[in-house]
């Protein structure tokens, strides 16, 4: 990896974005990178704002926060406007669904929750769909390591459904990239 990835995930509590960030972090560690992952959240266990981030680099990571992410994924629009200005100049923005707001050039609209709802038929897997989308669009980790890290993170009884979610997310991510 010759690039320093700074990825911010934004959503609401209970959507599972912290899990996604840990899976991404583990996948990147598997690929030999230095990685820092963390999260911020409000006092609500469910429904409050929730953000998680991953820094991955082949250099050592000292300062453990991100100031200008080059990837930002927004699962729900509760608080992303607060974070939008920090997106790096050529940063990628991945939006769940669609919005009429003025957004940066590199914006990718992917109906993540719809995919989980209509295609996976398990709304709870939206976070794993989003993992596939991020990997499909950014390529920050390989499909293989992302899948392995995902498999290690989900309960075995939910493995098959999550594999399906990941594959559908990956496909949607790649399609969004091509259509840009």
């Amino acid at each position: 990896m010759n690039k320093r990835w700074e990825v911010r995930l934004i959503g609401t509590g209970g959507q599972g974005i912290v899990t996604v960030s840990i899976i991404l972090a583990n996948a990147s560690v598997k690929e030999g990178n230095n990685v820092v992952q963390s999260q911020n959240y409000g006092p609500e266990v469910r429904g409050g704002y929730s953000t998680a981030y991953v820094i991955a680099s082949n250099k050592s990571i000292l300062y453990p926060k991100i100031d200008s992410p080059n990837v930002m994924m927004v699962m729900s629009d509760t608080s992303y406007k607060k974070y939008l200005p920090e997106l790096a100049e050529d940063g990628m923005l991945i939006m769940n669904g669609h919005t009429e707001e003025t957004l940066p050039d590199k914006v990718y609209f992917v109906p993540i929750t719809d995919i989980a709802h209509d295609k996976v038929k398990r709304p709870i897997t939206a976070n794993i769909v989003s993992l596939g989308v991020i990997v499909g669009i950014t390529g920050m980790v390989s499909e293989k390591t992302a899948l392995e890290a995902m498999e290690a993170a989900v309960p075995s009884r939910a493995l098959e459904i999550n594999k399906k979610a990941f594959a559908l997310g990956l496909e949607a991510g790649k399609a969004a990239l091509e259509n840009k």
């Binding site: 840990i22 583990n26 560690v29 990685v35 820092v36 992952q37 963390s38 999260q39 300062y63 453990p64």
Partner: protein, 375 residues
């Protein structure tokens, strides 16, 4: 060793403690230290250890001290409000010289403050939180890898020196996960407290050559008396001024006597530096980033990072700061460690505090701006 994994700061403490032989944890849930309790609850029964969730933090530290009296290595973890509640019993452990370790993952205060935001404002509380002159060791790791190793070192110090040892982290380090590659120097070797010697008359608070009395575990056949009252070498209360003076000087002085082993600092590019940053914990990560950035711009900046916070590494810092143009002390508080730095340097070099108290980490930008403005 050579093992690579993604490890959370709080998680690293647990595994460091287990490697050092900890088999007892008692605690009470509190953000941002709760993961430590969660992981101990999962791991301890696997190795025959005991986990207890107590009714409050006072009970937690009490149970830890009780377990330690039997010879079991014991630890607790908490954050600001809970740390305040523990103070009386930390004083008991210091006075009765019972080994124990307290992890305080600092959060923003006072009072409930900002529970999910970091702070370094317990720097002084960790040293002076309990009443009376007392010995204590405080260690501040700055990475998950160091959290593992230093928690191991804390357990060993508590056993070796019969003293409460505090691991002072902050919310950032507690909650972040990072890639850790364990190396040879990270191996935690178990150190056990010294016991009574066969054939030698035993006094549980003997003024030995190393100033560390041997400890007879409860149930080992010595039937000691342990009290928080000032006691003579037999362990029983005394108010004889001459003995009280001797006992207090030994108990407090035992740490200074072994200061070379206890104190540890880490430095980055200090030798030829004109400006030196003194920082600990997560703030030191920002400071190290500043050194990297400013060195690449040709600026002579260095970093001194106290790993042992208390006893404050006076000698090491004084030496490293000698002949510098300026010292900057960034802290997530209104200026606590800076007082120690000023005391240590004794007016030789100008010392500048840089404080942030908005619940956010001091950034490299904050420090660079400060340096540029100063110049």
């Amino acid at each position: 060793m050579g093992e690579v994994k993604l490890l959370q700061g709080n998680e690293a403490c647990v595994f460091g403690a287990l490697a050092a032989g900890v088999r007892f944890f008692a605690g009470y849930p509190i953000t941002p230290s709760t993961e430590i309790a969660n992981i101990f609850a999962r791991e301890l029964p696997k190795i025959g250890g005991k986990f207890m969730q107590m009714e409050d933090e006072i009970a937690s530290i009490g149970a830890v001290i009780g377990a330690s009296c039997t010879g079991m290595k014991a630890i607790t973890a908490t954050s600001g409000p809970g740390f305040s509640l523990m103070q009386e019993n930390i004083g008991f452990a210091a006075e009765a010289e019972i080994p124990c370790v307290i992890i305080n993952v600092m959060r923003f205060g006072p009072s409930t403050g900002l529970p999910t935001h970091p702070s370094q404002a317990d720097f002084m509380q960790s040293r002076w939180g309990t009443h009376g002159d007392h010995p204590v060791i405080v260690i501040a790791p700055y990475t998950a890898r160091e959290a593992y190793r230093e928690t191991g070192r804390a357990v060993n110090f508590s056993e070796k020196y019969r003293v409460p040892v505090i691991i002072l982290m902050d919310e950032i380090l507690g909650h972040l996960r990072e890639r850790v590659e364990f190396k040879e120097e990270d191996i935690v070797k178990e150190v056990n407290r010294k016991g009574p010697e066969a054939g030698v008359p035993f006094f549980p608070y003997e003024h030995t050559d190393d100033w560390i009395p041997p400890f007879a575990n409860f149930g080992s056949g010595y039937r000691c008396h342990i009290t928080g009252l000032i006691h003579d070498r037999t362990g029983f209360p005394t108010n004889n001024p001459e003995i009280v003076d001797q006992v207090m000087r030994r108990m407090n002085g035992k740490i200074d006597k072994h200061i070379d082993e206890i104190c540890r600092i880490s430095t980055v590019d200090v030798e030829d530096a004109e400006i030196v940053i003194v920082a600990f914990g997560s703030v030191a990560r920002s400071a190290a980033e500043v050194v990297r950035i400013m060195r690449s711009m040709g600026k002579k900046i260095g970093l001194i990072r106290p790993v042992t916070l208390w006893p404050f590494p006076d000698r090491e810092i004084k030496k490293a700061a000698e002949g510098k143009k300026a010292i900057i002390v960034p802290e997530m508080n209104l200026g606590q460690m800076v007082r120690e730095v000023i005391r240590t340097i004794e007016g030789e070099t100008p010392v500048h505090p840089l404080n942030r108290i908005d619940g956010e980490l001091i950034t490299p930008r904050d420090i660079i701006d400060f340096i540029e403005e100063m110049e």
